[in-house]
Symmetry: C2
């Protein structure tokens, strides 16, 4: 399977522009599974609830998800992308999964970071694992990386690869934790981070790139610079993530001893 | 609090020699809490059950633990050390915790690595957190690092620092996972690894040093080379591990959402 990510710089508040730019970048390479950054369509630094309400869209019936399905059909790919979702009078920091056959159930970020708590409701959907082209793909968003239970839950549910849209600001932290997630669950991870700076409503954030794909033994298969848009694609054998043995004696999942865990 | 570790090269099958060597190395610096490697008294590569039976000792009444209590009294320190324990006709890969007041309850390694499964029974004691000099110290052994639940359990039980005796063979793996354990639980970790090579009964292993102490924000406070004995000591403010906030909005433990975890 060919897995890729897009490291891009969204323009705040302009979903149409961001969708066009994402489409351009996706066209640079061919992949079966693509990962786009968190909130790729809206940008990140909201300044009011009014803005959130204006920019968040229904899933799957909003324009961004509908357009993404068309892109998925055109590219014959699966795309995991972070979007602001509007549902039942609430906004969610969500990830949509679109395939040529349509959109799959949305994932809503379980662990909200910092001021996201002002704008978004905490996720109320389970960590999802879906099948596409024989692959089992788990989804989590950005700060979920800090909580080992997120990737663990996806791995125990059968994920061979974790698609991880992100808007990371601390350079080098998620790169380390996601390598550990890959190692401790013996699966692939694909983190699509954004780049650029947003300064709005008194808050300035610089996003730190360094998007990456990591193998089940912790090898960096692809990575991007801290600045600048970038597209990376790698061929991976996802069956390597099925057997959790790290040697003839140790299977990382069979060796778990939940009776000793809090 | 002053925390230190001893990176040493045990001689297989000679607990008395190893105890004398450990005492010499401990004398190089002053610390309140010391960590010695896994199986520091026996060595690692057993070749028969007979050897295990000969070398494993009762805890706390065996000679190694009794001698360690004397060392703790002399140094006025707490010492966490990996030993082979014999109890109820079984051998355990264990960690003893000795203070000037005597030995605390033993910890028996929950996650056995590779051929350890031939020689040792799986641990049947909870991950322990004990108090010494106002500090809350958790204990886990070597391969426990691969399972995020181990450090998580210790952190949720209040550990401010994890004492981690180890006999690591893969260079760079536990160094990464233990940095993640420190980050994701916002606590200190102190990994005491051994060095040297053991070739016995057809098995040859090279132990890879790189012992380290990591801060709750993932900073390497002390580290040792891949080869050679070494002693490192650092002053740490363990209160930094009490508050799990990483910013005004996020408390790493309060933000956990177990209802979404497998």
């Amino acid at each position: 399977m060919r897995v890729g990510y897009v490291q891009m710089e969204p323009v705040f508040g302009n979903p149409r522009t961001n969708l066009v730019r994402a489409r351009e970048l996706l066209g640079r390479e061919r992949a079966d599974l693509w990962v786009l950054p968190e909130l790729f369509n809206t940008g990140y630094v909201f300044a009011s609830h009014h803005e959130v309400r204006e920019l968040a869209e229904p899933v799957p019936d909003g324009p961004t998800t509908r357009s993404l399905v068309e892109v998925a059909q055109e590219l014959r790919s699966c795309i995991v992308a972070g979007v602001a979702e509007w549902s039942d009078s609430r906004a969610y920091n969500a990830a949509v999964v679109v395939t040529p056959g349509g959109a799959l159930p949305v994932y809503r970020k379980v662990h909200l970071f910092a001021e996201e708590k002002r704008w978004f409701a905490p996720g109320n959907t389970p960590f999802p694992v879906f099948e596409f082209g024989g692959a089992k793909v788990g989804v989590m968003i950005c700060f979920d990386h800090f909580f080992p239970e997120a990737a663990r839950t996806l791995g125990l549910r059968g994920a061979q690869i974790i698609a991880h849209p992100a808007n990371l600001v601390l350079p080098g932290v998620a790169q380390r934790t996601m390598t550990t997630r890959a190692l401790e669950n013996r699966l692939f991870t694909a983190t699509a981070n954004r780049v650029g700076t947003e300064e709005r409503g008194g808050t300035a954030l610089r996003f730190t790139g360094l998007s990456q794909i990591v193998s089940p033994v912790g090898t960096l298969l692809a990575s991007s610079p801290e600045e600048g848009e970038d597209v990376q694609v790698v061929d991976v054998d996802l069956s390597l993530a099925t057997d959790k043995h790290i040697n003839p004696w140790n299977d990382l999942y069979a060796d778990r001893r939940p009776e000793f865990y809090v």
